[in-house]
Amino acid sequence: MGTPASIQEMVINALAVATKREPASIALTHAFRDDLGLNSLDTIELMYGVEEAFDLMIPDADLPKLVTVGALIQYLHERVSPGGSPVSTSKQVLAKPATKPEGVIRPTTPRVNTKKRSRA
């Protein structure tokens, strides 16, 4: 735990569950939206899980640059204190919505080409 490899492993495993893909099929260059089919809400849930697992808060202003797997991992390396490990003892990086089984995000019909927006 706490090595750069484990950050990568945690993020990729989380994405594998979220997108129902094999971890090996997820590359650092993959974009959450265009390659992995996550919509804006799926991405927000992913970030929510990341914040919990690494005990940090990701400002809205940082979101626009966190569009690929590699960018998120790089960002976490920079944000997690040197030699520090994720505070969560579990490998769970996923959001835990009240209505879903623990630790599983199922993207609601992953869609390509959707951007951050809200109708609120």
Binding site: I44, R117, A120
Partner: protein, 423 residues
């Protein structure tokens, strides 16, 4: 006969009431709105919770609301804040309309409330206390009657003796626009002669606020400059700002209004409510569905798109929401989109969620009656994606015969109401 269904029965607005971050009561609100005053301020505290763990720390709070000025001691102490707002706004609208239950059949006066969250203030308090204290016998006996979502509609009926149909519509941020539409349909169906319509919301509290923060729906870049945070259609907008308050309208059949010699603000000419059946939070990006809702409402009102003069837009100040709405307006109105006046009330009071639709119709009625289009403040640098010539940061004086009001809500739902200048 009053009970016979008549889809062509004309329905008018005869009373208005409002509780908002820029004014309690229509005169104060309208003056502030025309001046372009912002009601957005920094949140000073969330009790024991650290403010810095909220990305957004600004809101449209009603800081000077003292319930004892308007309500009795028991109501001031026991009722949830959203219901207090509803009672105060409804009281103003009923008084202004001169609607008296003792001068007609009270069973012909109904209540239609729109609320997205309901009595969450008491909800949060009681749930927190139960889990912290682990003393179930200390849950307040008034908890259930307060948090049932129709508590405000019941209280409004009790306050005025309105014994007609009494319903609550909850469709998130479009709740009270659907409530206006449903009141219109009730009147046309002959179920009542008059409806007290209210939209009310009070969600600026630790849990609800955190939920919207974490949905990344709220503005977070203007915490140091709160009055600039809500900026619909502006290039620098970065999310909505939560507001609170209530709007109330008296809707009645034209024949009923005439028999009472009531002052008429505007005619409610059409309504459409649709569901995109697309995504719980995200609108369909091409704006086709929003355009469809506007088009359907215009068709019901028998108004051509080329005859629309003004739109009170949903305009929440989210990046995509504003963009998609303008796309929808362009599709629905075609060339006319460049001619209509458009205003975003949320630029001044924030997004009052379930109350927004009723407040939008109240603004629409005043706009249609006076020809004054309030400013959309902070529209300093028009975003090319949603710029239209009719959006302005200053007051516009226009000749207005037809105003559209839009509201869109989580659950993929859209609503549009069409108001006509009464003649």
């Amino acid at each position: 006969m009053p009970s016979r269904q008549d889809p062509h029965r004309r329905v008018v607005i005869t009373g208005l009431g409002i509780v908002s971050p820029i004014g309690i009561g229509v005169p104060e609100f309208w003056k502030a709105a025309l001046e372009g005053r912002s009601g957005i301020s920094a949140i000073s505290s969330f009790g024991d919770f650290p403010l810095e763990s909220y990305r957004c720390r600004v809101a449209g709070q009603i800081r000077d609301f003292d319930p004892r000025r308007y309500l009795d001691e028991s109501q001031s102490q026991r009722l949830d804040r959203y219901a207090q707002f509803a009672l105060v706004a409804a009281g103003e609208a009923v008084a202004q309309a001169g609607l008296r239950m003792d001068r007609g059949d009270p069973h012909r006066v109904g209540v239609m409330v729109g609320a997205g969250m309901g009595a969450m203030m008491m909800g949060e308090r009681e749930i927190t206390q139960l889990y912290q204290s682990q003393r179930p016998h200390r849950v307040h006996p008034n908890f259930i009657p307060t948090i049932t979502l129709n508590s405000a509609s019941g209280l409004v009926a009790l306050a005025h003796g309105a014994k007609g149909p009494n319903l609550t519509i909850s469709t998130a941020c479009s709740s009270s626009l659907h409530a206006v539409g449903s009141a219109l349909l009730s009147l046309q169906a002959g179920a009542a002669d008059a409806m007290i319509e209210v939209g009310a919301e009070a969600g600026i509290q630790p849990l609800v606020f955190a939920g919207f923060c974490n949905l990344r729906a709220l503005s977070s870049g203007f915490n140091e400059t709160p009055t600039q945070a809500s900026r619909p259609f502006d290039r620098a907008r970065d999310g909505f700002v939560m507001g609170e308050g209530a709007g109330a309208l008296i809707l009645e059949t034209l024949s009923h209004a005439r028999s009472r010699k009531a002052k008429i603000y505007a005619e409610v000419a059409g309504y459409a409510g649709t569901c995109e059946a697309y995504h719980m939070v995200i609108p369909k990006e091409d704006g086709v569905e929003m355009a469809d809702t506007m088009t359907r409402a215009l068709r019901v009102a028998q108004v051509a798109p080329s005859a629309v003069d003004c739109i009170n837009a949903h305009a929440t100040s989210t990046r995509k929401g504003d963009e998609v709405e303008i796309r929808g307006i362009r599709r629905a109105l075609k060339a006319r989109a460049s001619r209509v006046a458009i205003h975003g009330t949320k630029s001044m009071i924030g997004h009052t969620l379930g109350a927004a639709g009723a407040i939008g119709v109240l603004v629409g009625a005043l706009t249609t009656e006076t020809g004054q289009v309030h400013p959309t403040i902070n529209y300093d640098d028009p975003d090319p994606e949603c710029a239209l010539p009719g959006i302005a940061a200053k007051v516009q004086e226009r000749r207005i015969k037809v105003t559209l009001i839009n509201a869109f809500g989580f659950g993929s739902n859209n609503a549009t109401v069409v108001l006509k200048r009464f003649s």
